[in-house]
Symmetry: C2
Subunit: 157 residues, 2 copies
DNA sequence: CGCTTTGCTTGCGATTTGCAAGCGAAAAGA
DNA sequence: TCTTTTCGCTTGCAAATCGCAAGCAAAGCG
């Protein structure tokens, strides 16, 4: 008589927990789109440069939602559409995403804008604080998240 | 007449580059074992709590080596065995791994030792600097990496 | 009413996974 | 020496996942 199902982790290591939740090629791209690009609908995610397949996108959104990383709410204007937004737990993935961006920009050939990378490395905490502040206010006003977020690319103090 | 093969990225985004290299359920666990647990041989990785299959371990080690994240060198004592060690590029994954550990420890049930998590959050840069220093000296003396790295769990200034 | 958009499902072949077994070379033990 | 064990790795195979195309109901739009 089992009670419920915390799908049984491979280990009790926190890194392993993280990897089991978003350790794949797609999940963090959706988080990136939410965090930095102001994307919030299925179609907007689908239109991302990487070209995620619709079935995978559906699966990842469900998974992220069931993990409490994103929230979904229907568009009152258009009943077909839903808006996705990051929860607190999702916003807290920003440091992970930023470190991965910095590493990728440093060691691989990418089209990363140098000023953004510079801000992320030299001004990490301010960038994260900005993202958090922006999302917090957005979740109060209820009118979706930030859109382009080229805010704190300029240094703070 | 194609020149070579930079396996063709899905996009030029640095996050995507990172995900294509280590965006799977296993690669970073190997990096963790190297960074924090002093493991350095095939068998030691295999003995990790998560129980990686040998074929996958072989594949990931090859992949990490071809990406320049780990280096392999034969054991002069035992010709069967090889030692793996992190390169500079691999050591620079420490911030990524640490953020994932912190996130996992914060939001999931894990067995993460609280003092280690505390050090990683409150004293992030010192922890990273310690790891780097430790690995740099190890790669000079040529006698493998750090072993238990419970060093900077105590705050610095 | 046709026509499009949105989010999602289905089908299907290809790739990747997880697990077990096996294997050669080297080391260790008798 | 001869046997056994260890190490890193390969193979086989079933299951799961992936990527791509097509389709589809519900809702908006003309």
């Amino acid at each position: 008589m089992t009670t419920k199902r915390p799908p049984a982790r491979r280990s009790a290591c926190p890194l392993n927990a993280s990897l089991e939740i978003f350790g794949d090629r797609w999940s963090l791209l959706i988080v990136r789109d939410l965090l930095f690009k102001g994307r919030k609908t299925f179609r907007e995610f689908q239109d991302s440069e990487e070209g995620i397949a619709t079935n995978i996108l559906t699966d990842r959104l469900k998974r992220l939602e069931s993990e409490g990383i994103v929230e979904r709410r229907k568009d009152p204007q258009d009943a077909r559409r839903s808006f996705y937004r990051l929860t607190e737990k999702g916003i807290d993935l920003a440091p992970v995403v930023i470190e991965m961006i910095v590493w990728g920009a440093r060691y691989e050939k990418t089209a990363a804008p140098p000023d953004v990378i510079k801000a992320m490395t030299e001004n990490r905490n301010a960038v994260i604080a900005d993202l958090r502040r922006c999302w917090r206010s957005a979740s109060q006003t209820d009118d979706a998240g930030p859109s382009l977020s080229q805010r704190s690319t300029r240094a703070r103090r």
